[in-house]
Symmetry: C2
Subunit: 331 residues, 2 copies
DNA sequence: TTGAAAGCGGTACCAG
DNA sequence: CTGGTACCGCTTTCAA
């Protein structure tokens, strides 16, 4: 049963005596084809091992049933887990997913967008780099349906699904402040990233509400790619900064910090009070415990639903902001 | 600068006065087009914001410059990291990557293969479920270039890149045996999976070489999807099994086991001797340390190179097995 | 060096 | 209910 050449509609048409057209419609179960015909065609299609050429289909119909997901780095479990959720939801609606990594770099982000457009994806889910807003404007000009995830632009109206990061930052810092800490090291992401700015704002708010002054030297901004946490903490430890607790930009950064601190304490497994974000331990079990901020909602699913809705509605769609509520979780 | 409709070659042709054909070849920098013409065409293409329709291109040329990666679960950092490496290598050669998750389920694996075929991917990198060999035979019949990663079939000749898992198992068990442990719990993957079978073989070999008897009740086979480690250890702890050390199927399972054991000891962070596989800490820092088996080679890169070679060579390609040497790494 | 024409494999649209 | 035909946008081949 060698299947060297691709089986096409024509092969089925030849074998059954119907036209390509009829075969095409029969296989799509259009109701204007008689039950008998449909069955015959389906059967021979099965026998021949027919698999539709989606490139051809896409070309004519303009629909690829494919969405692109563009994120910083898929090997980051936060994105990995998000992506997995997206794939699951997308699959349920018959969509396939292409992935692009930006490494938090605008140029690669642009390449990804171009490539996705070139492949005629039906829509894009993007966690934007946010160094500038060029790429977003580009997406808008191309009029490809897209949804931002995890980050948003204050000045541009787009669909977006993101966490309430001001509240997140406030919860994190507040938790530690309420334990009596007043020197809380804050290691956060760049301020051009909305979550970076918002979480820091939350950190400040928490202090203000408790009338505790924020010490600016406790605030450290860093890259959010892998290894960044290590670098910062390494530097900080050279400064003799009197911090007694830490708010880390993500659980991953928190782990990096604990790794680094481990080198400076006798017992590697006694760690200082630290709070992270993303609650990665809910997805990947890990035997080191600290509180983490997260939402109860399924961001991935919400993204996909929103995107599909947007794809359906087309131009008439009005931008929707879905802000996910967050809470502090003790695993 | 509204770019509503897609810009096509025709638009450029109309604007420059050349034919579609000439435009196409000019944009591909074929040398049978005069420098002048090329420049004019490139310039107007830029002005109009032309982006090639790869669906159309693929249809005619048969090449999509896309590969599919099919793995168990991308949210597993092992696969996430592998995938990332694949994407990096593929990108360098101008390839895009589609991803499919099988959840270690043959049926989904088949769907993934069909979908990839339908999208006319140029090649596939697959970590096979191995419940049976139907899907591999399917791939061979479809004559899509593919490379297996992490697992191989003893009875079927295919291209494959995988770790020396017998040695891996031997190193892991040997390390613990040499520390004086004689009751080493082995928590491994299903035996139909090559790495599951091979690592267990290695565990046995290590005992044999040291003339230490293997106690069969120390051998536990489990699923390898998330949470499986927890289940097994939970059950084992009800049995009062006198193990003093553990060989875990992967670092992820090791972490799960440490989580579970944490519930039964006073100090959560004092853990029993355990050895894992994959050395996930090399990619993602975690402040819990134990030895892990891994290779020095870049599996992802090797996979991509092999696949691209196979794509180029076509039918003439002879299957290649790349067995990666492994070692025990103390982070 | 450039142009004309024939497809790639489907789908949309209209006719019968 | 089924067939005919144009056509999606690009690449290939051959001719000029």
């Amino acid at each position: 049963m060698a299947v060297k050449k691709r089986v096409t509609l024509k092969d089925i048409a030849d074998k059954t005596g119907y036209t390509i057209n009829t075969v095409s419609r029969a296989l799509k179960d259009k109701k204007d084809i008689s039950r008998e015909t449909r069955e015959v065609i389906h059967k021979t299609a099965g026998q021949l091992g027919y698999i539709m050429d989606s490139a051809a289909s896409a070309m004519r119909s303009g629909k690829t049933k494919t969405i692109a997901v563009i994120v910083g780095d898929i090997s980051n479990p936060f994105f990995g887990s998000l992506f997995r959720g997206i794939e699951l939801s997308a699959r349920k609606s018959g969509f396939t997913v292409i992935i692009y990594n930006t490494d938090e770099n605008s140029e690669w982000e642009q390449n990804a967008i171009f490539s996705a457009y070139s492949k005629r994806v039906d829509g894009i889910i993007l966690c934007p780099v946010q160094e500038n807003s060029e790429n977003i404007k580009l997406l808008q000009r191309m009029s490809v349906p897209f949804v931002l995830v995890g980050r948003y632009f204050k000045k541009i109206k787009t669909d977006a699904v993101f966490w309430n990061d001001v509240k997140a930052g406030e919860l994190a810092a507040g938790y530690l402040l309420d334990q009596g800490h007043v020197n809380i090291l804050y290691i956060g992401g760049p301020l051009h990233i909305s979550s970076g700015a918002d979480r820091l704002q939350g950190y400040r708010n928490a202090h203000k509400k408790r009338e505790i002054p924020v010490k600016e030297e406790m605030i450290r901004i860093t890259r959010i790619t892998a290894g960044a946490g290590l670098e910062v903490i390494d530097q900080i430890l050279g400064e003799d900064l009197p911090f007694t607790a830490v708010v880390a930009f993500s659980d991953l950064v928190a782990y990096e910090i604990l790794c680094a601190l481990g080198n400076y304490t006798k017992d590697k497994y006694t760690h200082i009070p630290i709070v992270g974000f993303d609650n990665i331990r809910e997805k990947i079990m890990f035997p080191v415990y600290f509180p983490s901020i997260d939402s109860r909602e399924n961001a991935a699913k919400i993204c996909v639903e929103l995107l599909l809705k947007k794809i359906q509605e087309g131009e008439s769609h009005k931008p929707v902001l879905r802000i996910l509520d967050v809470e502090l979780k003790h695993t």
